[in-house]
Symmetry: C2
Subunit: 133 residues, 2 copies
DNA sequence: CTGTATCCGACGTGATACTG
DNA sequence: CAGTATCACGTCGGATACAG
């Protein structure tokens, strides 16, 4: 039997990624997948942090991106923003219950990624090397 | 006690998001977080699929982005690409063991997202409305 | 059928300067 | 300290045309 005769035998029913709900899930995944959200969430797990505390702890993030990331998380109800009208001003950011709930699966994903980093990086090197030589 | 006197009591040790490993984890999260990878992974859970099968099933993805997404997943060792040298050509994509392993935490995240969609969308509406009116 | 090549607009990200 | 405003740049993603 040649390759062209190998048929996938009538596909089983699919979870239909087109369904609106799956699209919406995508919007959540997009937030988690942006460059900084996960770092912020993980940093806030241990308790509330101030703006510059977050900036120093995360490191490498610009003021602008930290602001935008925090706004996004706040918009999604994952983080609260508390302003203390003092001089100098102080703003605390803290995970909501919703945010803490999200942190769990995110942590799972992170742990999986960490555990399988060697395999992934090995695969990348192998793949890239194949294209060069 | 006024707000400016409320002090976070000497921060507990942090998981240091600056550590190289955490950065590397970010690169995995970045893949999962891109626009299409999760859809492709979820579609491939039930078994191997051909290029246009994926395209039709996912829907809304361009030929270009499907190609790029699949190349990325292949590069990371999450998907295999099998070419059948027939006319017309046929290419099967299938999750590797590594890819199936990733699918589990991704599914957890997706289920969390699905379960909490109302809360998130509610928070978004509330946040956006506060800015308009 | 399964891609690659090209163009182009939209968006994400960073650097810098400025404000309350 | 905690932002906002602006600019500059690169990448992402879509549309279209072409190729094996």
């Amino acid at each position: 039997m040649r390759p062209e005769h190998i048929r996938v035998p009538a596909l089983p029913p699919l979870p239909d990624p087109n369904h609106g709900d799956c699209r919406a899930v995508g919007s959540v995944l997009a937030r988690v997948g942006d460059k900084w959200s996960v770092f912020v969430i993980m940093t806030l797990i241990d308790g509330p942090r101030r703006f510059n505390e977050l900036k120093r702890t995360i490191g490498g993030i610009s003021q602008r991106m930290l602001t935008l990331t925090l706004r996004g998380l706040e918009r999604d109800g994952l983080v609260t923003r508390t302003v203390f009208p003092t001089i100098p001003p102080r703003v605390d950011y803290e995970l909501t219950d919703l945010g803490r709930g999200l942190a769990a699966p995110v942590r799972s994903l992170g742990e999986w990624a960490f555990a399988h980093l060697p395999e992934i990086e090995g695969a990348r090197t192998k793949f890239d090397g194949r294209n060069d030589g």
